[in-house]
């Protein structure tokens, strides 16, 4: 039987898509890279995922797991030569919350449950799922697991791996395993921890046990304007130095603030060189004291405006401003390239100055909106891909950005992952021995290299020849 007919037999005709146009929808994720999907499958159950994986393996086809496709590093871009295009396994239809245990603050969910839907589902119980990527309305828990996703509130609460207790995972031979568990100290290695953030290279998660976090009894949301980027960056360092860990501490530069204000009309100070959106949460007295101290530290560094959300509606509006940044940019330029690097947070001001310099040197417009408390930069380069040479200049600026951040003691990615985008930069951060160790972990999970080949680890890690973009991928 052919690949397609076997897949149809395992699922049904409606949920196996092999037509050219339908496949093309799955050639990309939210990055600018493009590959080629072979067949696209939409399983509903764990046995269906197992069956699809086994069929693909029998036909020697790679499997690319995919959630909502909001990834920005090309992790879900299918890579394969013509005639060997991967089978894309889309988990979005596995979207049920299976079980919620409010007493023990645990939920079992299917991978296709959307991040924000989960938090809404458990909000009546006074709980939420703490990781909150900017794409939280659209991204799925399975994708969060694959990318170890972050978000503004991960400053205080930690990224996805701190909120995943266990997973049921389908391996390359179709076997189902439970990694981790609800018990705190399992036997053997932390395979759960190894799997989270593996970007679809080790298996497909088909059920996830997440830790839920109580909604804070009190919070304060502050929007503070500064006359310089340096003053805002120094305030970030001062807040941490004072022993305050806000729930979130976000920075927006003047350009993005202006764009957001014109888009959302949230009353952001359009004349500020930078604004900080800071949220402190917890119990009432500690929150009140922390908010007062943050304001004092900001004013001592020349803050020009301080606004505290008076109620939930105003808080939502301020956060809407922050989370609409990318929508606001779409009104200004037809395309943008969103980067993601991390630097030591005490060097934010200096690195931001370098970001503006390198953007200018390449003739590229840049805006900055990012998780300042984590030192997690997200420079956003604007371009129009119809204009010859613009994308090349954006790529050159991005290349320089990565090198600047690594030289400053930073890393390649804080949230988006490596995928295809930064795969060939891995040697900037890791020695051949380091990369071999990472590859060994993948090899233990998937000796057949069935899952998401050509991602994360440069292909030269084992044999010494480093190629750049794999065949079958366009940038």
């Amino acid at each position: 039987m052919t690949l397609v007919s076997e897949l149809v037999a395992a699922l049904d005709e409606e949920r196996v898509r092999s037509g050219g146009l339908e496949r093309a929808l799955y050639n990309r994720d939210a990055s600018i890279m493009e590959g080629r999907a072979g067949v696209v499958c939409f399983p509903l159950t764990t046995p269906e995922v197992q069956a699809v994986v086994k069929v693909a393996a029998a036909h020697g086809r790679a499997v690319v797991p995919r959630g909502a496709g909001t990834g920005l590093a090309g992790g879900a871009v299918p890579v394969g030569a013509e005639g060997h295009e991967p089978v894309v396994v889309v988990t979005t239809r596995m979207n049920r919350v299976l079980e919620v245990d409010a007493h023990n603050a645990v939920a079992w969910v299917q991978p296709g449950v959307l991040n924000l839907d989960l938090s809404r589902h458990v909000a009546p119980l006074g709980l939420h799922f703490a990781p909150d990527p900017s794409s939280q309305q659209a991204c799925s828990i399975g994708g969060n697991v694959a990318n170890n996703s972050g978000g503004p509130h991960c400053l205080a609460y930690g990224v996805t791996t701190a909120h995943v207790l266990a997973m049921d995972v389908v391996l390359a031979d179709g076997v189902l395993v439970r990694l981790g568990g609800l018990e705190p100290e399992g036997l053997g290695y932390d395979l759960r921890g190894a799997f989270v953030g593996s970007e679809g290279t080790m298996g497909v998660a088909v059920a996830v046990a997440v830790r839920l976090t109580p909604l804070p009894p009190a919070l304060r949301t502050l929007l503070i304007g500064f006359p310089t980027v340096e003053a805002a960056a120094e305030t970030v360092t001062a807040v941490i130095g004072a022993g305050i860990i806000p729930a979130a501490m976000e920075m927006m530069d003047a350009r993005i603030t202006k764009a957001v204000e014109e888009y959302v009309h949230a009353g952001f100070p359009a004349d500020a060189a930078a604004v900080l959106l800071i949220e402190v949460d917890g119990l009432e007295d500690g929150v009140a004291a922390a908010a007062a101290e943050v304001i004092e530290l900001a004013q001592a560094r020349g803050a020009t405006s301080v606004r505290m959300a008076a109620d939930a509606a105003e808080r939502d509006l301020l956060w809407k401003g922050r989370k609409s940044a990318f929508g606001a940019v779409a009104r200004i330029a037809p395309d943008y390239y969103l980067h993601d690097t991390v630097v030591p947070r005490t060097r934010l001001a200096e690195i931001l100055a370098r970001v503006y310099e390198l953007a200018d040197a390449n003739g590229v417009a840049v805006m900055n909106v990012f998780h300042a408390g984590d030192g997690n930069l997200h420079p956003l380069f604007l371009f129009d891909r119809r204009r010859p040479g613009e994308l090349d200049r954006v790529k050159a600026a991005g290349d320089q950005l990565i090198r600047v951040c690594i030289e400053a003691g930073g890393v390649l990615s804080g949230e988006h992952g490596i995928g295809l985008e930064k795969r060939d930069y891995m040697p900037l951060l890791f020695s051949p021995a380091d990369l071999l160790a990472q590859d060994s972990l993948r090899d233990a999970f998937d000796p057949s290299r069935l899952f998401n080949p050509d991602k994360v680890i440069p292909s030269g890690s084992r044999c010494g020849d480093l190629q750049s973009v794999p065949p079958g991928v366009w940038i």
Binding site: L182, D190, G286, T346, D434
Partner: protein, 304 residues
């Protein structure tokens, strides 16, 4: 050569070798084979950066020494070993067992940002990086935490540091039955311990919040110096929701359960835990095989 390079040379690449810190949890995971060469990781706090909230420390450093350095800047790492004068950072990470404040502060693995270890092949390998947020490559750091030195020998690590809570109060109250709300309606308490007859609670945070939460507990509760003596006969790990059922068959005072966490300390020995599912055991075996093909690192430990 630096201390790490010296350690790599000492570990070598051929004969069976075991690493020993303070040996405070030397029996966890089974005894190391006799006649194995014993090595010790280098010691010393390399670099504490309070404003970055991280510290670089060599694995052989005792927790007491590290805590002393952090304390001077008003910071801490909530690893909380029972014997900080002897327990080493490398030992705590390799065993991976958290102290009594795990409920609020999280497991050991969430406090580790970077690990430099000596591989079975005698090479220095780096996992992770000294920044608080990082998804650059696979998470070898979490794989190594709790691996009992069977995948690599820890040489130097970077840990997250945290501001010391401004106030902390232990309180105790009677509780013959497990409360319906396991965390007593408290907002993120640091510890809730139960021995079948009494409860102990640790509240940390802003002083007046701590006082308000203490008041919330009610008049039957009293201030106490600290947690009760922790039984050391055995240690069980169970889903937190299972503690109530488990406790029905165990007399008050014979155990101390960390509610909301699921660690139970026993005065008597713990029954051996059930073996992993075959598919999980196979994955564990493959991981070990890739990282230590000859089985020379800490042979005998880590029965999975």
């Amino acid at each position: 050569m630096g201390a790490l390079e010296d350690f790599a040379v000492e570990v070598g690449r051929d004969d069976p070798v075991a690493v020993r810190g303070g040996a405070t949890q030397w029996d966890v995971g089974g005894p190391v084979h006799p006649d194995v060469r014993i090595v010790a990781a280098p010691a010393g706090v390399v670099d504490h950066r309070p404003e970055e909230m991280l510290v670089r420390v060599r694995a052989g450093t005792t927790m007491a020494e590290l805590a002393g350095v952090l304390d001077r800047a008003g910071q801490m790492v909530p690893l909380d070993p029972a014997d900080p004068e002897r327990a080493t950072v490398g030992g705590i990470l390799s065993v991976g067992r958290a102290g009594l404040r795990r409920l609020r502060h999280g497991p050991v693995r969430d406090h580790v940002l970077e690990i430099r270890y000596v591989s079975a092949g005698g090479e220095l390998v780096k996992a992770g990086a000294p920044v608080v947020k990082n998804v650059s490559g696979f998470d070898l750091v979490r794989l190594l935490v709790g691996s009992l030195g069977t995948l690599g020998l820890l040489g130097e690590v970077v840990l997250r540091t945290y501001p010391r809570p401004r106030a902390g109060r232990w309180l105790t109250g009677p509780a013959p039955a497990l409360p319906g709300q396991p965390l007593l309606g408290l907002y993120r308490p640091s510890a809730v311990l139960w021995d079948g007859g009494r409860l102990w609670v640790l509240l940390e945070g802003h002083p007046s919040d701590v006082d308000a939460q203490a008041h919330h507990l009610g008049p039957a509760w009293a201030e106490t110096d600290g947690p009760p003596a922790v039984p050391v006969g055995g240690r069980l790990s169970m889903a937190p929701g299972r503690v109530a059922t488990w406790a029905r068959d165990h007399p008050a005072g014979s155990f101390l359960a960390e509610l909301g966490v699921g660690v139970v300390h026993l005065s008597g020995p713990a029954a051996a835990s059930a073996a992993s599912e075959p598919a999980v055991a196979e994955l564990n075996r493959r991981v070990k095989d890739r990282f230590d093909p000859t089985g020379r690192l800490n042979p005998g430990r880590m029965a999975a």
